[in-house]
Symmetry: C2
């Protein structure tokens, strides 16, 4: 008997209550019953995005919603500023370039947060910039960017919008779209929403909706104006992923029941506990300065192969953690605190890490990390 | 206690065995376990498409795969020929136009099949046509087009491809992609695949892959060359809808177990039984000449409001059928034979129809349609 523990920053574990929603007989979406469900989903998403704008649901991965942001706001030849501080920051640049948007990049070392001043300088230097694209929580490095400050900077430019990939941030930390003045917020279902992958969500400010009026990039499946019209009537432009929508209603109601600030605090404490354990074990964080509450990226200690560590954790302990991506492959491992995670998921993560490191010959005093984590988790 | 019977041409009923797959704990997709599942899905899809080409899976509705076909084959300013014989034929034209493709239309009265000769004439008249877009089974009218003959015509043009929306055809009738020489075949999960909506599939011939080398339309999420590369390694370019993929493996294995020709014969007989019942009840088919085995469209008899009929069926009998779309709204109703449907689903459809018509004051001798259906269904 081996119990499996999914501790990756997406996909994340899905509560049985949510999984079971998907085992119900499928219903037709052109029915009052479905429309009532969709109305509840919209309400739950608006609470999560902390916005009075419409949060639109798309049947796609989070990347689909990222593409939707680019193609609905911009035209070929427009200029965009992209904060590239990891794999998902780079994705904004890749999408912009695929659609022939002039793309200026702020390059940030992977593991560091962008200096908001760098955004201010870039905007000042180039008044052509129509949109700033950034991640909030960078999943590839475990960094949380200071979106509040960046938003205040972009707000000074009446013709420029801020587009935020909050795919691992939303639900793990506060993303108060309206209060901070974020123009576009994008997320995916398989992160803090405690859902399987397959749905993406996107919300636009009035400033961003105004840009959709002039955008010339061709679009059909991801046409947000068409979606806005349909979703106002609790429908979607095309057949929605019905079973996922129904499951989402359940997961959103679980988030509502726990209370958003408690959900955020839980993520925060799990992350702090993990970081404290990592320090107690003498390991080094990739992003000690601006850590995300969604996940913790840890440098693999000398002599320990990440692939061997992950393999042992998976095979012997049923614990799945993530490795590094792109040039961080083999250099770091990533432990998530994302979504349906609580005290003992973190205890499992730290405990399994200790045992596996010891088995791989790395000097570890068993229980040291667990003890450090417990000291923090007792407050949860 | 009211039992629900979903008899619409998408979404369609999902077997409990498939639904329960989605209630299993989520697994990570970057694992050998997932890759083995995906490999089986690819094999099952290739058998269904009757092709040796790769069948690619996308996380989107069927419309997403339709868009993928257009943007991966063509460039703005290219010329396409579209067969518009219903709502979904029209969608090809809408997508082509959204991407600034010159779009020639063959207009066909809704309820009729296109004359293959019309395609031959159009191709002869305009050598610029790079792609012919058509539906196979038109869901809005219940017509099955003669794709085999059309494919033979298009095959005579070495620079022109045939793109087939087989969203309701595939699995309901034979779509032998390689044998017929179809260049692109598109489907969605919520039809004969006996799955919830949320996945789409697309396969390209070598002739179509060649066109992807010159296509200039911008693309990112639906970039099929990138997907082909990833899916060759049993991965996807972006996070897949994992739970739907796992469910799809199950539904494909059920199709394989029944045997594809038996699956097609089942659809054929359910459709014939329904048509026979409709005739016995003195009702008129919308598409008597080229009926699809996926669904049957019936003209509402004088004095019977489609909305009243559908409402009564739904409220009193728990039977959901579809109405007409666009200009056929209020004029027809549609009964599906699509996917997880067997003898008694058709008996239920006919029986409920008889009872509801009688209750609405239409002269019906109860049991007449059922008897006609039984005579055919006894052979299944």
């Amino acid at each position: 008997m081996k119990k499996n523990h999914l501790l990756t920053p997406g996909p994340t574990p899905v509560p049985a209550e949510v999984l079971l929603c998907m085992a119900n007989p499928i219903i037709h979406h052109r029915t009052p019953e479905y429309e009532e469900i969709f109305a509840q989903v919209k309400k739950g998403l608006a609470a999560l995005f902390q916005t009075r704008q419409d949060v639109l649901v798309l049947s796609s991965s989070g990347t689909g919603a990222m593409e939707a942001a680019v193609i609905n706001l911009l035209s070929a030849g427009d200029t965009a500023l992209v904060v590239n501080a990891g794999k998902f920051g780079k994705r904004w640049a890749d999408i912009c370039r695929a659609f022939k948007v002039n793309t200026e990049i702020i390059e940030v070392a992977w593991g560091q947060a962008v200096h908001p001043q760098a955004v201010a300088d870039a905007l000042k230097a180039n008044p052509q910039i129509k949109a700033v694209f950034t991640t909030h929580s960078e999943t590839s490095t475990g960094v949380l960017h200071d979106i509040k400050t960046i938003a205040a900077i972009v707000a000074g430019y009446p013709e420029t919008v801020l587009v935020v990939d909050a795919i691992t941030a939303l639900g793990a930390t506060a993303v108060p779209m309206d209060d901070w003045g974020l123009d576009v917020v994008v997320t995916g279902s398989q992160k803090a929403l405690m859902m399987p992958p397959g749905l993406a969500c996107i919300a636009l400010s009035q400033k961003a909706w105004k840009l959709t009026e002039t955008s010339q990039l061709p679009k059909y499946y991801f046409d947000l104006k068409k979606e806005k019209k349909s979703q106002a009537k609790n429908q979607t432009a095309y057949t929605p992923a019905i079973s996922l929508i129904i499951a989402l209603r359940k997961s959103l109601s679980m988030i509502e029941q726990e209370g958003l600030s408690k959900v955020h605090r839980r993520h925060q404490l799990l992350a702090e506990a993990t970081r404290s354990a990592v320090a107690a074990l003498g390991l080094e964080l990739l992003a000690p300065e601006s850590p995300s509450p969604a996940l913790t990226a840890v440098k693999s200690p000398p002599g320990v192969e990440v692939s061997a560590l992950r393999g042992l954790l998976s095979k012997k302990y049923g614990v799945t953690i993530a490795g590094g991506q792109d040039h961080l492959k083999g250099k770091i491992f990533r432990i998530a605190h994302l979504g349906y995670m609580s005290t003992f998921d973190t205890i499992i993560a730290v405990s399994a890490l200790e045992m596996a490191l010891k088995e791989l010959g790395h000097p570890v005093q068993l229980g040291t990390g667990v003890k450090a984590a417990q000291k923090i988790l007792i407050n949860l």
